[in-house]
Symmetry: C2
Subunit: 310 residues, 2 copies
């Protein structure tokens, strides 16, 4: 393990606060990342699905990577989302992250064409690794078939590991299918399979996995950290609290609801802005979100939402 | 109608020949576009799904637009694909096309997030029109739910037409659902609804539509033109020939098979290159394609494939 190998634990798929003009707000983004690291997160996955990365222009994505690097976020705690549909852009973004000091990248499969073959996906990831051209690069595959429409099979992972060894370092499993996560942990020793939801954090750790990378950790980080640091014998009880909040949050459109919670948490209405085609949370849903939060007083107090939700 | 309003008729969703390094081959691309216009095409839709636009880097897409403009392709015969997931990139690409003299753009909905609302899609297209900021811009919506996963509803089209009038000029309907095409033609007078397959060319024209924009027109252009120019009484018979070839071609992976046919047509093996995650047509499928073509001697001769397929 070198100094910048990705740590295990609790990762937030970090939200991206936006300026009114619809570009990443670097000051607010850095402040949010610092708050997450100071309040339970072991690591961050900026510029993923939750970060609205694919709704940001290529130039905006690159500029945000630069701002996070300049802020001195520790490289061993960051896995940067760099995946898009075009190999050339994905190579450029990944090189940008490497140049900024972030060697760990979380990379979606190209997601425009449907029904693509494992041979085609292998060719894509192989060309990415060759295009990045740096033995220090660490590729984390991003398996999220409900959103990308392109699943990453165990067969593909095995071929990539056989061909590129430790460069193919791990995977975020956002399928929600614990059996798949478990199978990948067991099938590929040394391959770091993060669960895509903190609902599976205790299970992931018990199975020998490294932890979770999750959207809702943007607000559940303090509680998720208590699961991570709990003694194995006590872990399941804290996990049940965490799971209850995660499942309650799943009843809302994820990114708009999380941004509304961050608005309440920070008092900064700039947090409400989302990029099209997403929309800010409607007031009716915000009212339901307030009601929901009021039912979880510990969670509410832990991220200082009392002022907003009573 | 101004000089650069889009014409009706037979459009090829133009293939993009690639260099061995995986960038558009401008010389071959221009030659192919000219061949299409000289051999039955009324117009071209470069940089769409068939053109592998979303597999090309943003810089490569922009450079290809420039090359097509420099070659003097007539603006009233070109609708440039400029859609991606990020509004900022889509605005930049559309402005690039406008600056090059192409006012007509075919624009996918943002296709990463799933289950997005009509309100969100309206916000996206409205922001595009405002971002382009040119009254000469003509937006053609690209309805291809099987690939984009994001359908464009009649309700959305109506709202966009009500808000932006003639700027929202038309649509390519690649759903394969003729009833949908027919409904949109009837529902929005003056809105130009092109069928996404030449299989529906005669029906489209009979219903008062402008024609078709199709992948397989890259090879069926001469025959499709005969349908377009046929007297209405004779059109159905020629359409049946055209439909038979279209349906036969649908049995193959579209882009790899069309590129193989262009390789045979031109004798240039450079045509075989596709961008990942797509793969060149396997030899076994190429053999089947040869057999298929041999069963359509008129088509074979019309695009000079005899040497390749016997």
């Amino acid at each position: 393990m070198t100094a910048t190998d990705l740590v295990g634990g609790v990762f937030a798929a970090a939200l991206t606060p936006m300026t009114p003009a619809g570009s990443p707000d670097h000051v607010l983004a850095v402040a949010h990342c610092r708050w997450l690291l100071d309040n339970g997160c072991d690591g961050l996955a900026p510029l993923g699905t939750t970060g609205e990365a694919n709704s940001q222009s290529l130039a905006d994505r690159m500029a945000l990577v630069g701002a996070l690097a300049e802020a001195g976020l520790p490289a061993e705690r960051v896995v940067v989302g760099t995946g898009g549909c075009a190999l050339g852009d994905t190579v450029a973004l990944t090189r940008c992250a490497m140049d900024a000091g972030f060697r760990n990248a979380l990379v979606l499969p190209p997601f425009y064409y449907k029904g693509v073959s494992d041979d085609g996906l292998f060719a894509y990831y192989a060309a990415l690794i060759e295009g990045v051209g740096d033995a220090d690069f660490r590729l984390y595959l991003y398996h999220f078939p409900q959103m990308s429409t392109v699943p990453l099979s165990a067969g593909l992972i095995g071929r990539l590991r056989d061909s590129f060894g430790a460069v193919v370092a791990g995977l975020k499993d956002s399928s929600g299918d614990w059996a798949n996560t478990r199978h990948l942990i067991d099938a590929f020793p040394g391959f770091r399979v993060y669960s895509g939801s903190e609902q599976f954090l205790a299970d992931n750790l018990a199975a020998g996995g490294p932890g979770c990378i999750s959207a809702t950790v943007n607000v559940t980080a303090p509680l998720a950290a208590r699961v991570f640091h709990a003694a194995p014998s006590a872990r399941q009880r804290v996990q049940e609290e965490l799971t209850a909040i995660r499942l309650a949050l799943q009843g809302f459109p994820t990114i708009p609801a999380l941004k509304r919670l961050l608005e309440w948490h920070t008092g900064n209405p700039g947090w409400r802005t989302v990029l099209p085609p997403l929309l800010a949370l409607p007031e009716e849903a915000a009212d339901k979100l307030r009601e929901m939060i009021a039912g979880f007083p510990l969670f509410r107090d832990e991220i200082a939402l009392a002022a907003a939700v009573g």
